[in-house]
Symmetry: C2
């Protein structure tokens, strides 16, 4: 898709008339006075969380935002492969694939040894290594990511819309409130309306849970007495989205450019084919110094970019958006309100995204990590609120995400040092580092390392070497048995709050009596210890809580679906219609057993969480371990 | 995507609330009194045509429909690969890919030799041969195809909406009207409103052109004195979309099932994973006999299907839609109002879709051919109305589409005979036929065989053996030079009314002086005979009428975009921004030069029409022939 040729226009580029490019967004009502979950902030973390919760109409969610309406311009733009995988779960990956700019290669430029005031290309690398993800690394205006989430919310059973122009004044927690089902609201939030029509009016919401997705200056964070720790000084950055004419040949690649004396810039090509972003690294600020005091304008940024790009020209025709900002690598100790000295107390307030971790823009991580925060927390809150999981599951949010954020900040700091050292970065070293850390920037290196109620011990990891416990389920192509459709197995995992058991068959006929798959299905269908039997309520579909899926080694023409365990062709719904989408076969051209290192003799089962992370790998006959895993946190209905 | 589990619900399945699954469609205004093009009928042909015209805000298009609103249910469902290629040009292929059911294999069932009253599987074939198209064969409720077109129209610069509840009474042509730009309206259409509020009110539209997309009983066809010719008797069919439980194992494959004594059915799996369609072939009707006189109900159809499926069960839970209808293989002699005896007279009225050709449903062709009619006519009407092409271009619509429809009817009749002979079809023969004719049913066999002003003579066809003149441009993967993005070359061809010249480079450095590409770009940029210079108006972008694209044999890292002819990196728009999407490189893993038989030594140019058909293949230095081709029908601006 090509757009923005005659000037930047925000909104949906498929709509010809710029004035009509927005779906209406925002509720015009007063906020309700009670909520199961109050989300403060309509950024990437808040909208991911809201989208997740919106699919459960039995949960009362409110999302408020200080701005007067949806984001239109600027801010982040990088969308990692891992984030695309999550967008697939939310049902809009194909829209992003179509509209975004794909980052296929990254190029590196350094001073020309023969003529130091000129830059030359020193290297180029494929941006994402082959096989790392089925999705590309793309860039797209953050505002459009918001739009897609708002669309998910609008179409959901809850028809959730944000309440804009609400500033959070403060939160209070009433420890004496019962906190039971009769009166569950222990947190009180006071809001002030900031639109002209209602300016200064106050509103009060009583909530079971409050999630602060309210950015680096988070009021929620302050209200629970937490602070960001880390760099004492900030880095200053200039960033601008421009429509410009240049003879710099790599303007449609991500390019890291270091000049001899004038500093460095990063060029990021953008959606629509014409727009691109330039990051200009400014000096490190002294403690307490504010970049706003320097009176930097977009003209300064353009002039810096022109100096650095020499001998190439840069003729900026329009600056669609620009900003100068300061940011440090900072992190909270915990992402909830549970004090270290009383760690068993259940959390009621959480923080996510920039409210609890901030990053250099260089690795393009901030927005992506924030959305994964929301995805991690969303299903857990839903499971607890719907009575499916015990509330202590909520402790895992801070435990998992704080550790991951710390790892990332460490990586990020290292990366920023490589790129931004005062001597100028060494391009060869940068390139090596870039290649080595591609998995980090793709978001696929995230790993919940500590065993917990949601992360099993790796005793049987060898049965599926390529599906690491604690990491995201790495999809691979398969062929659906019922209709021979080529599909990606991981795309079965939608953002619907369900756990999944992927049963990979061992050697032999899966329909034969005594097969591992048959035994597992028999256990799950009939045994009193079966988590499906224990945790699925009467009247619910058999796959409503835990979905069982099987992957066979045979080709789809070699198997008879009618000979398979009934659990894999389950009757569902008011009519008892059969669900034909539970069984898959290896694709001989791209064999999932080989790609993911699955034991062909024994097979295995892989338990996948609602956020697409591998919770456990077990032998097919590990029925007791399977039951024990779910018994560790689930609640009988 | 899975949906319809608890009952069929029409509309967009991504919207949770069935009551909100429709975008508003239909204008509530009175129809305007004058139009450049009046389209009668909101079926597949009419909506394709309307979508094409809607992208030109300078064309006044009116589309009217007798029904009271958008289609919700039933009718056709097959979407051929070729149709998906066209949907890509209209910008919604990814929505269909996501929502539709993919037909990956077709299976054949026949009476069991050992037990004749039971059926057994006699064969299975991959539905679409490898490499035939980059798109799959899919099925989706026709109503959803309409929705996607209505969405294109709504988002277009024209913001086109149909006028519903209008019945065409008659058309009259005033031969004495000037027919010039001062008063171009020679056709008068009288409409009757059929909604309760306006019942019986008449409206009159004066139009330059009228297109009858008003189905097999077309009033437009009758008004120009044309008739469908062909079968004297109709075939009767029953069709039903059901939610049902069955142990027939191939219910998620397209299945052609012949019983020993009870006739035959076709099963077509449908979108959402639960619904499927059953076609039941009824007897051939006698001349003048109407199927409606037989009092057939859906219960009759279910009973027939149950008999034929034995020993398999069929327990129908809900019939979402059903119909009994009669259809013959019929065809008009011409698809416009130009009499054979005065063939130079310019056409003013056209007919498209079922109005001029009807088909057996067995090959799943009707809807697909109708849409291609609309696509063929749309760009020609736009080019004439916008003063880009001479009006005699309009003669090619009937010439091209009538010949194609005739070829298809012949194929269709043969197919129907194979399947529906009174002795029952021979499954082995059917399967052979099916494989052999896969290209027909995929829609990729369509060929405009006769050389014309729009179809060049094949003197240089050997330069690109796999891109046949008169057939659709067969896409292949390439790598974009500017950003290394893997793309499908054919997807460059959007439904925007533009011609394209694909210049495939010969051996050697394309940037070297004297290269074929360089010479062609030099000619196109600077020569007085250049069609780009002649037919692009002052102030228009250089690619507004004819877009030039180049494909190189080298890898993208071996070429310097700045060394390429300026025409391939053209400045555009108010800012003179460079368009980086004109140059491509062969993908070494899927080399387009090998895949499409392109002469590696000489290269070639391939002229592609706005409807994605190859108009001509010429040597890179065939500058005079290139100019002559466009001079044959284009008008200097």
């Amino acid at each position: 898709m090509q757009f923005h040729l005659n000037g930047f226009e925000p909104g949906d580029p498929e709509i010809a008339d710029p004035a009509r490019r927005y779906a209406p967004s925002g509720s015009s009502d007063s906020v309700p006075t009670e909520a199961d979950v109050l989300i403060v902030g309509c950024g990437p973390a808040g909208l991911t969380l809201a989208s997740q919760l919106s699919s459960f109409p039995d949960i009362k969610t409110i999302i408020v935002e200080q701005k007067g309406g949806p984001l239109r311009l600027g801010q982040a733009d990088g969308i990692a492969c891992r984030t695309m995988e999550m967008f697939e779960a939310f049902g809009f990956s194909e829209r992003v694939m179509k509209e975004a700019c794909w980052i296929n290669e990254t190029t590196f430029w350094k001073p020309d040894d023969k003529q130091r005031e000129h830059i030359v290309r020193s290297g180029r690398v494929q941006d994402v290594e082959d096989g790392l993800s089925e999705f590309p690394h793309v860039v797209l205006n953050q505002a459009r990511v918001h739009d897609f989430y708002l669309d998910v919310m609008r179409k959901s059973p809850s028809r959730l819309e944000p309440y804009y122009a609400r500033r959070l004044l403060d939160l209070s927690i009433d420890e004496t409130a019962p906190g039971d089902n009769a009166y569950p609201y222990q947190v009180t939030a006071r809001l002030e309306r900031v639109d002209a029509e209602h300016e200064g009016q106050h509103e009060t919401i009583k909530a079971r849970y409050v999630v602060g997705c309210d950015g680096a200056r988070s009021v929620v964070r302050k209200s629970i007495g937490r602070a960001l720790h880390g760099d004492s000084a900030n880095h200053a950055w200039g960033v601008m989205d421009v429509l410009a004419v240049t003879d710099f040949p790599d303007v449609r690649f991500k390019s890291l450019i270091q000049s001899a004396k004038d500093g460095s810039i990063i060029i990021i090509p953008r959606e629509g084919g014409y727009l691109f972003r330039i990051y200009v690294e400014l000096d490190k600020l002294g403690a307490g110094e504010r970049v706003s005091n320097r009176n930097i304008t977009s003209d300064h940024l353009i002039a810096a970019a022109r100096r650095i790009l020499k001998p190439h020209t840069l003729d900026v025709k329009e600056v669609a958006w620009w900003s100068v900002y300061e940011i440090g690598q900072r992190l909270c100790d915990k992402f909830d309100d549970v004090p270290a000295e009383d760690s068993a107390r259940l959390p009621r307030v959480f923080i996510a995204g920039d409210a609890c971790h901030t990053h250099s823009p260089k690795a393009g991580q901030g927005m992506n990590v924030s959305m994964q925060d929301g995805f991690n927390l969303g299903w857990k809150l839903a499971a607890v609120l719907r009575g499916r999981a015990a509330p202590h599951v909520l402790h895992t949010y801070s435990a998992e995400r704080q550790a991951v954020a710390k790892e990332l900040i460490d990586f990020d700091r290292e990366w920023a040092e490589v790129l931004g050292s005062s001597k100028g970065f060494d391009p060869a070293e940068t390139q090596r580092y870039f290649v080595q850390h591609g998995r980090y920037t793709a978001g696929t290196a995230t790993r919940y390392r500590d065993a917990s109620i949601l992360i099993g011990a790796p005793a049987h990891q060898h049965l599926a070497e390529g599906l690491t416990i604690g990491m995201r389920f790495h999809s691979a192509p398969v062929i659906r048995l019922s209709d021979a459709k080529p599909v990606h197995l991981g795309h079965v995992v939608k953002a619907d709050g369900r756990f999944r058991i992927f049963a990979f068959a061992g050697a032999g006929d899966p329909a034969a009596s005594g097969s591992g798959i048959g035994g597992l299905c028999e256990f799950l269908s009939n045994d009193a210890q079966s988590p499906i039997r224990r945790y699925t309520a009467a009247g619910e579909n058999i796959d409503a809580v835990i979905e069982v899926l099987a992957v066979f080694q045979q080709g789809h023409r070699e198997l008879d679906i009618n000979a398979m365990p009934p659990l894999l062709l389950p009757p569902k719904g008011r009519y008892g219609l059969r669900d034909y989408e539970k069984m898959f076969c290896a694709d001989p051209r791209n064999d999932i057993f080989a790609l993911r290192g699955i034991d062909r003799a024994r097979g295995c089962m892989v338990i996948v969480r609602p956020d697409q992370f591998v919770a456990h790998v077990l032998p097919l006959d590990g029925h007791a371990e399977l039951a024990a895993f779910f018994d560790g946190f689930m609640m009988a209905s």
